[in-house]
């Protein structure tokens, strides 16, 4: 019943990417991971249209094009606005949360300090989205 997802993972921190990959292995997921280390790179991937992601997991704090700027572009573009974007960030800033929801996100996950907690959150998020009907 779980579908395999194409996940666009937008994150600049190599350790974060490594941990996410590790979590995917640990929970035995076969989702397809597309990595982008900043907003510009992620936009390039979306533009190329070789793979259209089912969901986007987005870090907010990134160099060049930051998460919110990237989100605005995705949500204002007819071709990409349907893609659910879930924020993965360490920022619990009230203003960030509010502006993300205003622009249009499908979730806001605060990355916890503990690896085990993180694993649970990633697992639940992916389970939820893989049980959804997606475009």
């Amino acid at each position: 019943m779980f579908k395999l997802l194409n996940i666009l993972f937008v994150e600049d921190d190599a350790i974060e990417v490594m941990m996410f990959v590790r979590v995917l292995q640990k929970i035995g997921s076969n989702h397809r991971l597309i990595e982008a280390s900043n907003g510009e790179e992620a936009l390039a991937i979306l533009k190329a249209k070789e793979i259209i992601p089912d969901i986007i997991l987005l870090d907010l704090n990134m160099p060049k094009l930051n998460g919110i700027e990237f989100l605005k572009i995705v949500k204002s573009n007819e071709a990409t606005r349907h893609i659910p974007v879930i924020i993965f960030t360490t920022s619990n800033n009230h203003r960030d949360i509010a502006s993300c929801y205003k622009i249009g996100i499908s979730g806001y996950i605060i990355k916890p300090l503990k690896y085990e907690d993180y694993l649970v959150l990633v697992q639940k998020t992916l389970e939820y989205w893989s049980s959804n009907e997606l475009l």
Binding site: D13, I15, N61, N93, L113, Y115
Partner: protein, 471 residues
């Protein structure tokens, strides 16, 4: 010494000449200005000047200046005059180092002076006093042309007497940056014979501009005819410069403060990511390797330290994120707020939270108000040391606002710790769950809401937090 006759009119003197004292021929004080009494509080009308000012009558040449020292270390130069009529002595004084405050000047200009019959004598006296005034004094004839100025005027404006005599003060002093509105106001008041008072820009002979506070009025004859105009100008350039400096300083300070806050925000936020990375890597190292017990323990210690660091950073972030501009005011039902706060907190089973009455609806930022109550309730929970804990929430209402109280039966706060309780620079970390910044955050929110927070506490019995919020 010129002997003159003058009629003594208490109120006129008091208002016109801030510092004077009138003695009879035996040096007994008959009357003195109220302002002089400000500097010599021990003065009263029956006191002998000899005792107070240590004047030796045989040595005192009244043509000489007499310097008085007040107990408030203000020196006065007094100049004496003898009344030829009854031998009274009048001393008129100028403080050596002070200018007359504008408040005191107000008193001067608000009086309506009426020259008596002996105008000439009065004028001599007037000009003597005016001469000693630290402010510019200008006397104009009934046409408004300068008839006399004092030496302070010359010092302040840089013009000589010859250069200004017979001219209109406005023509001499005002210039292109002088407010047209104020000039018109002055013209209008003078034309109608009314007292005037305003602040405006004057120009020195050198072209340098300076700010003055000008006050003055027409002097009337008994028949109600305008005889002279009289004006005092106080140089307030320093005040104006100081005011704009203060404003600039305040705005710089606000900006620096803002910069610092956003710096704290960015720096703390940026620290969270590496802490998280280190923590995760440690977990991974533990997972991947069969480490000996000691190594495992060490790694656990590092994890604990990281957890504490992370909490602290979250506290700083919470604190730094609270700023006035982000407050959105709406009607907030406090019952709801307290309910949400309790739901967000993990209330231990041995602690009961009682809400003693239906709470009011107040105007505040909903999110911050909840944060405020949550921090205070959380603090109460943390300090409960009894087997059964009770937290009581109540409020009182008065005309000005609401005083909420959060009372616990915890261990209480020692008196010496009470004053530092809300102080961000002296925060205490008492257990692993706390950031130590909760009460600093509470205080910051209360202050932005224009309220007050304080405690009453007894060691071993409990603590009550009071939060006063204005209506």
């Amino acid at each position: 010494m010129k002997k003159i006759q003058f009629e003594f009119d208490e109120s006129s003197f008091n208002t016109l000449f801030p510092y004077f004292i009138l003695l009879d021929k035996n040096y007994i004080v008959k009357f003195h200005s109220t302002l002089l009494a400000d500097y010599f509080p021990e003065l009263n009308d029956a006191t002998s000047l000899l005792d107070h000012f240590k004047i030796n009558p045989s040595n005192t040449e009244l043509t000489e200046k007499v310097t008085l020292s007040s107990i408030q270390t203000k020196d006065f130069q007094l100049i004496g005059q003898i009344n030829s009529y009854n031998q009274d002595l009048l001393f008129i004084g100028t403080p050596n180092d002070a200018f007359i405050s504008s408040e005191k000047l107000n008193k001067i200009s608000n009086s309506n002076l009426k020259l008596q019959d002996r105008q000439e004598d009065q004028l001599v006296l007037l000009s003597l006093i005016a001469e000693k005034n630290i402010n510019s004094v200008i006397i104009c004839d009934s046409e408004g042309n300068i008839e006399w100025v004092n030496s302070s005027f010359i010092a302040m404006s840089g013009f000589s007497i010859e250069e200004v005599l017979g001219k209109k003060p406005g023509h001499v002093l005002q210039g292109k940056e002088t407010s047209v509105e104020q000039i018109n106001y002055l013209k209008n008041q003078i034309r109608n014979g009314l007292p005037f008072k305003c602040e405006l820009i004057n120009y020195k002979k050198s072209g340098e501009k300076y700010w003055v506070k000008i006050q003055g009025q027409a002097l009337y004859s008994r028949e109600g005819k305008i005889l002279k105009y009289f004006a005092i100008e106080e140089d307030i350039s320093k005040n104006i410069a100081l005011k704009s400096q203060t404003e600039e300083l305040a705005s710089n300070f606000a900006k620096t403060n803002k910069d610092l806050e956003s710096y704290a925000l960015i720096a703390s936020h940026d620290l969270k990511a590496p802490i998280r990375s280190i923590y995760s890597l440690i977990t991974i190292i533990k997972d991947d390797n069969e480490l000996n017990d000691i190594s495992n323990d060490y790694l656990t210690i590092i994890e604990n330290k990281l957890e504490k660091m992370n909490l602290q950073i979250e506290g700083i972030l919470d604190y730094a994120q609270i700023n006035k501009e982000s407050f959105f005011y709406e009607d907030v039902n406090c019952n709801e707020i307290i309910k949400n706060s309790i739901e967000n907190l993990n209330i231990p089973e041995n602690i009961e939270i009682k809400i003693l009455q239906n709470l009011p609806t107040i105007r505040a930022d909903k999110y911050r108000l909840q944060q405020l109550f949550q921090k205070v309730i959380c603090n109460a929970l943390n300090f409960i040391d009894k087997p059964i804990g009770i937290v009581e929430i109540d409020y009182k209402e008065d005309k000005k606002g609401y005083i909420f109280s959060i009372k616990d039966n915890g261990k209480g706060v020692a008196l010496e710790c009470q004053k530092h309780l809300f102080d961000i620079s002296k925060y205490f970390i008492n257990n692993n769950r706390s950031t130590g910044l909760g009460l600093s955050i509470a205080k910051k929110i209360v202050e932005i809401l224009n309220g007050k927070i304080w405690i009453e506490s007894e060691l071993g019995v409990g603590t009550t937090f009071f939060i006063e919020l204005k209506k």
